[in-house]
């Protein structure tokens, strides 16, 4: 190394990052100044980039702030996701804002890590974003159904239930960055952020059952399609009137997960064999479409297939969805529960296996300890080998002379 990193690093940038880290861990400038045994004014100068920080000071501050030194000095993408301003009813109170803040921070960090791994491996994410839909002049419900139909068409989903993992579709076929993180309190369903460099990022509350997570995902996808640049934190709240953007996202989720034409076909099939729709039928449909009983009854009420208010009655009656699924022998929709997208894990693995990052960094990117990181690397290596082997087999098959039919 020819130069000292502290002689060449952008001091204003470093100062800003140190200041943000200090604030995040709740320390005052006075507290931080004591840690490195300087006057508060000196610390202010360091944070402004006016006073060059010494190596031992950086080490002490980084550790006091719960960071590694590497977090501040390794070359990272020059991206700063701006602090989202949650407006209006998307966040109800300063208390809610405070509660959701650590999870917003976590989503930002994970998205930045993902982007950093793409830069390290030089494998940028392919975005297949549709242009933002214009819905002005349309009724909310009409707009939601129109956009849902167009998106289903664009993604080749037709009007059948989405039997694949929705998360995979939105990650792979759209290029969204989706993370499943446990968010507290449980009333928070999801967080959506957009940055022009990083793209669309969604955190889904992993504590929720898969049906609800799919709903939250579809809901936030609706935001992405129509209100792309507006961050949101979704809170379950039945008691307030929702703004137009939220009603759109809800309706979009409804039509995207349960498209009208396909659902009508299924209901006709049921009616062909019997007179009415039973609770078991609703349960079967909900399972088939990967939505909750509440979502399916709401949809069927909206289609006038079920009388209004039946959903509330089912809920009050203490209907147990999981038990009913078991009794009916229904298999729940598949899910992928990992916090990180599969591609994120593979990029971290690629970086590690090619020697671009250390074992410690690999573990840190994955948010696990070194031992589990080693084990995960083994699993990913094993999977990669299997895929490679399969690729070799496929390639060999391609090279074979024509089939008997061709020759015939």
């Amino acid at each position: 190394m020819d130069k000292n990193i502290l002689d060449v690093i952008d001091m204003s940038e470093l100062g800003r990052e140190l200041q943000q880290a200090r604030v995040r861990c709740g320390l005052t400038q006075e507290d931080a100044a004591k840690i490195i045994e300087v006057a508060r004014t000196t610390l202010t100068a360091i944070e402004k980039g006016d006073r060059r920080i010494k190596a031992d000071e950086l080490v002490k501050l980084a550790h006091a702030y719960g960071h590694s030194v590497s977090d501040f000095v390794r070359p990272r993408p020059k991206v700063a996701i701006s602090q989202p301003q949650f407006r209006g009813p998307s966040l109800r109170s300063p208390e809610d804002t405070e509660k959701v803040e650590p999870f917003v921070e976590k989503l930002k960090q994970l998205a930045l890590n993902y982007f950093e791994l793409e830069e390290i491996t030089r494998m940028p994410l392919t975005r297949k974003y549709p242009p933002q839909y214009e819905i002005e002049g349309l009724e909310v419900e009409e707009a939601a159904e129109t956009v849902a139909i167009e998106e289903r068409h664009r993604l080749g989903l037709g009007d059948e239930p989405i039997t694949k993992i929705l998360r995979d579709i939105l990650e792979q076929d759209v290029g969204l960055r989706i993370f499943y993180i446990p968010i507290q309190p449980a009333k928070f369903s999801a967080i959506y952020l957009f940055d022009h460099q990083i793209g669309g990022c969604i955190a889904i509350n992993s504590n929720h059952p898969e049906e609800r997570r799919r709903w939250s995902l579809a809901h936030d996808y609706g935001h992405f399609l129509v209100h792309r640049h507006k961050p949101t934190a979704d809170i379950e709240d039945h008691y307030r009137r929702k703004p137009g953007s939220e009603r759109f996202a809800d309706d979009f989720a409804l039509y995207f997960l349960m498209p009208t034409s396909g659902l009508i076909r299924r209901i006709k099939d049921i009616r062909r064999t019997k007179n009415g729709i039973t609770l078991g039928d609703v349960c079967t449909l909900a399972t088939y479409y990967g939505v909750s009983m509440a979502a399916m009854t709401l949809r069927l009420e909206g289609m006038k297939v079920l009388p209004t208010g039946i959903g509330d009655q089912i809920k009050k009656g203490g209907f147990k969805f999981r038990e009913a699924q078991e009794k009916l022998g229904l298999v729940a929709i598949p899910s992928r529960d990992e916090e990180l997208p599969s591609r994120y894990q593979y990029l971290a693995f690629e970086s590690f296996i090619k020697g671009f990052i250390t074992e410690g960094m690999f573990a840190r990117f994955l948010g696990i300890d070194r031992l589990d990181a080693r084990h995960l690397a083994e699993i990913l290596q094993h999977q990669t080998e299997e895929v490679t082997d399969k690729a070799i087999i496929d390639e060999s098959i391609d090279r074979l002379p024509g089939t008997l039919e061709d020759e015939g």
């Binding site: 190394m1 000095v73 250390t358 074992e359 410690g360 960094m361 070194r370």
Partner: protein, 194 residues
Amino acid sequence: MKEIIFCHECIILDASLVINLCASGKMLEILKAIPSRVAVSDYVADREVLKVYTGPDGDEMRTKASVNLRPYIDSNLLAVVSPNSEDEYLDYVNFASELDDGEALTGAIAKHRNWSIGIDERKGTSFFTRETQQLQLVTTPDLIKHWADTDNSSLSILETIIRNRERRARYHPNSEHPLYTWWNNCGNFYCREY
């Protein structure tokens, strides 16, 4: 076959190697066999999450536990060292621009005190080979082989140690390691399970 010659007064161990030594179940004996002093940085001792799988044989991954370095420190077989000069701090920060903190501090201390570095980690190894050319890099197979040669260990004990490393620390030397064949021959009964 490569014979290790300890050419510095002290070896400072990185986290990757500490985990592997602990997983062997023979850390005490291996440390005793090393003719030079052995140290770890305070970062590795206090801030790294060092764990090994501790489940019963055949189901090792069922449980894991934190590595306890205290017995080795109390027996004076392992010292915990901190950066003590401006140059060490400076290189800690310099190295941290490419490595994780554990590796960076380990390398910075080794560079300024002219110590060997005990490391099993690929990126760190290539970095120190480039940046601290005068320093000796030592790996887990080096230390095990040295202990085995010194102690005249039986093949069955070696097999157990190697199996423990592989199963309890998920460590296997890469195929370019000079002792790769020796390692495999010692543990050739062992079949990896996923």
